[in-house]
């Protein structure tokens, strides 16, 4: 009767408004891209699970999008809770979206201290011949953060380049460092989600 549950790993997207987090999210869900994203169409959907196979193991990556809260206010601290990985997203054609990452990094280490952190330069199709953010900049940043960054990627939501590779690699790295924890997750059911009530059992005899 033992049911083997597929481990679910929460991955959050962090970064400035407009760097393409929702586009990454959309690529993750159904591999589409909207040039001038019709924001309304993602309303009501803020996380999505997708299965990845790593070696002989299946894991579900559960990707979360901010829902645009960062536009003016800050993202709620709940967003970070239970995250196994955080992807810091910046836009390769926008230097300021890169320089502000240290702020987002601080939020991650504060609210999701166990999360593995990845760096993603998006909009690689706009990088051109004189990039706003150079490879050297990225390397420097990683060094400054005392190697908190596990890996760096370049992606383009417009062409779809680099995205599946990134998620597969993140899945692999999470499985590697979480092996023991994933085993535990199957056992530990101390806290729970609340759901609709089960249909009532047969009335028990009250005598």
């Amino acid at each position: 009767m033992a049911v083997v549950k597929t481990p679910v790993l929460k991955v959050i997207l962090c970064g400035e408004y407009g760097v393409g987090k929702s586009s990454i999210f959309r690529r993750f869900i159904n591999n589409t891209f909207l040039p001038n994203a019709d924001k309304k169409s993602t309303l009501g959907l803020d996380h999505f699970e997708k299965m990845y196979r790593v070696g002989d193991k299946d894991v579900k990556l559960q990707l979360w999008d901010t829902g645009g809260m960062e536009r003016i206010a800050s993202v709620t601290s709940s967003y970070y809770k239970y995250a196994e990985a955080a992807v810091l997203v910046f836009s390769l054609d926008n230097a300021s979206s890169f320089h502000i990452l240290s702020q987002h990094l601080l939020d991650i280490v504060t609210y999701a201290e166990n999360a593995k952190i990845f760096l993603c330069g998006n909009k690689s199709d706009l990088e051109g011949s004189c990039p706003q953010v150079t490879d050297a900049d990225i390397e420097n940043f990683c060094e400054q953060c005392h190697n908190l960054i596990s890996s760096t990627y370049k992606t383009s939501c417009k062409s779809g380049q680099g995205l599946e590779e990134m998620f597969l690699d993140i899945a692999q790295q999470l499985v590697e460092c979480n092996r023991s924890k994933i085993e535990l997750q199957r056992l530990d059911h101390n806290s729970f989600k609340i759901t609709h009530p089960e249909p009532p059992d047969e009335p028990s005899c009250s005598c």
């Binding site: 709620t76 601290s77 239970y82 806290s191 729970f192 609340i194």
Partner: protein, 443 residues
């Protein structure tokens, strides 16, 4: 900010966040503002611990308290009834996906200086040390009556019309003594005072059913508590609102609610900026001239390095001290949560003692509660006024929530929210408006 909205919501306390979420889900364009730089207002959980000590002007905590970041201390203690309104709201809105819960381990009631487990089924009634032998049988018969009671089937009412007969007459019908009435009304039906005795019995029956149905959901007690503290609740609803298009602004001072010539709200001003709107929803602190004081509540946060005695070392518990037991008119509540909920460092417990104030010496009023706790490492006392709006908002289109009362659960909180929603929109909240998620997990 210089835009037009259907509704502007001021304050990010739980009530305002639920309202904001409900309005956004219903297709309204919502701007949600808080003058503070964090979410939650009065319903926030304070973290790190240093911040809590600073808030009460206490010297910084020493190293025995562990890492400050491991603490999330609620300012207003409450539990969720497992089958209550807030849980229904969480499920229907999908906000439940942001949260995890633990069942509260024990529910106790105070009698004659010591605490006993609240008996809720026939077996527990017979085993309880709260009653004598004959009283136990009478109480058991009463519980069976409530259990079998069905509102739509008058045969189960047993020659008593519960919508007209008052609760006192129902107690008398079963011959329950004053002590039993006391813990039934206060620890099972969770009434704050004794005015319910003169109210129709049906209300009390519903409350006892809520208690026992909640108990049946997850075991040990009818109460749930969220991991990382109650502050997660408003944040969850704020996120719901944002996902449905709501705009958030924190750390934004509000200078005035702009009115038109007939006194209707048409916008909100911050400095030189004005956001226009058709309606304003807010907590009492944003409109001091439109609320009046109804009473005062005292809450005492106690940090303990041990569980409460006689609770089987429970890591979470609730104790109710019925008013009569200590010669008062309103109950004293004790709630306990701990490191197991990620709200305190390893080995630590947070107890909260609260009540509605009746005298000029509120600290003495809560002493019976404090005495149950044993040695207290640190104590923070706050006294807050309890406000309610002076009007229903139909003229001004300003809809104001009541302050959080002394009850230890969220039932009154949710009723207030649903009432405000109805006053503001003219309709009951339609739960079917919340879209089913694309990513919904297959069961």
């Amino acid at each position: 900010m210089d835009e037009e909205y259907d509704a502007i919501v001021l304050g990010t306390g739980l009530k305002e966040c639920i309202l904001s979420g409900m309005l956004s889900v219903s297709g309204k364009k919502v701007l949600h503002i808080d003058r503070k730089k964090y979410y939650g207002g009065e319903s926030a959980s304070i973290t790190p611990l240093e911040e809590l000590f600073a808030k009460f002007n206490a010297p910084a905590p020493d190293e025995t308290y562990g890492r400050g970041r491991d603490w999330n201390v609620d300012l207003i203690p409450k539990f969720l009834m497992a089958n209550g309104l807030l849980v229904k709201l969480l499920i229907h809105t999908g906000v439940t996906r942001y949260l995890e819960f633990k069942s509260v381990e024990g529910s106790y009631v105070y009698k004659g200086g010591k605490i006993s487990k609240v008996p809720v089924d026939q077996k527990e009634a017979l085993a309880s040390d709260l009653m004598g032998m004959f009283e136990k049988r009478r109480f058991r018969n009463f519980l069976i009556y409530v259990q079998d009671f069905q509102e739509e089937d008058s045969k189960t009412w047993k020659d008593l019309d519960p919508s007209t007969a008052n609760m006192q007459s129902l107690y008398d019908k079963f011959g329950l003594d004053k002590n039993t009435q006391d813990f039934t009304g206060h620890a099972l039906a969770l009434y704050l005072d004794d005015s319910y005795l003169q109210q129709p019995a049906i209300q009390t029956i519903r409350r006892i059913k809520l208690y026992s149905d909640s108990l049946a959901r997850y075991g040990k007690s009818p109460y749930l508590y969220p991991m990382y503290g109650l502050g997660e609740l408003p944040q969850g609803f704020a996120r719901l609102s944002a996902i449905y298009g709501g705009t958030y602004m924190l750390d934004k001072p509000i200078d005035e609610i702009v009115l038109d010539e007939v006194g209707r709200a048409v916008g909100v001003r911050s400095g030189t900026e004005v956001a226009r709107c058709k309606q304003v929803y807010c907590d009492p602190s944003y409109v001091p001239e439109r609320v009046h004081k109804k009473g005062k509540v005292i809450r005492c946060i106690c940090l303990l390095d041990h569980p409460i005695t006689n609770t089987k070392d429970a890591l979470s518990t609730q104790i109710i001290i019925p008013q009569k037991q200590v010669g008062r008119n309103s109950d004293i509540y004790v709630s306990l949560v701990s490191y197991t909920h990620q709200v305190a460092a390893k080995g630590w417990f947070i107890a909260m003692v609260s009540t509605t104030i009746e005298t000029n010496d509120p600290e003495t009023e809560i002493r019976p509660g404090l005495e149950l706790l044993g040695p207290i490492r640190q104590k923070f006392i706050s006294v807050s006024d309890y406000y309610e709006p002076t009007d229903d908002g139909s003229q001004s289109q300003i809809f104001i929530s009541e302050s959080y009362d002394a009850t230890t659960h969220f039932e009154t909180t949710c009723l207030d929210v649903l009432k405000i929603y109805k006053r503001g929109t003219g309709e009951d909240f339609d739960f079917s408006k919340v879209k089913l998620e694309l990513g919904e997990e297959e069961q």
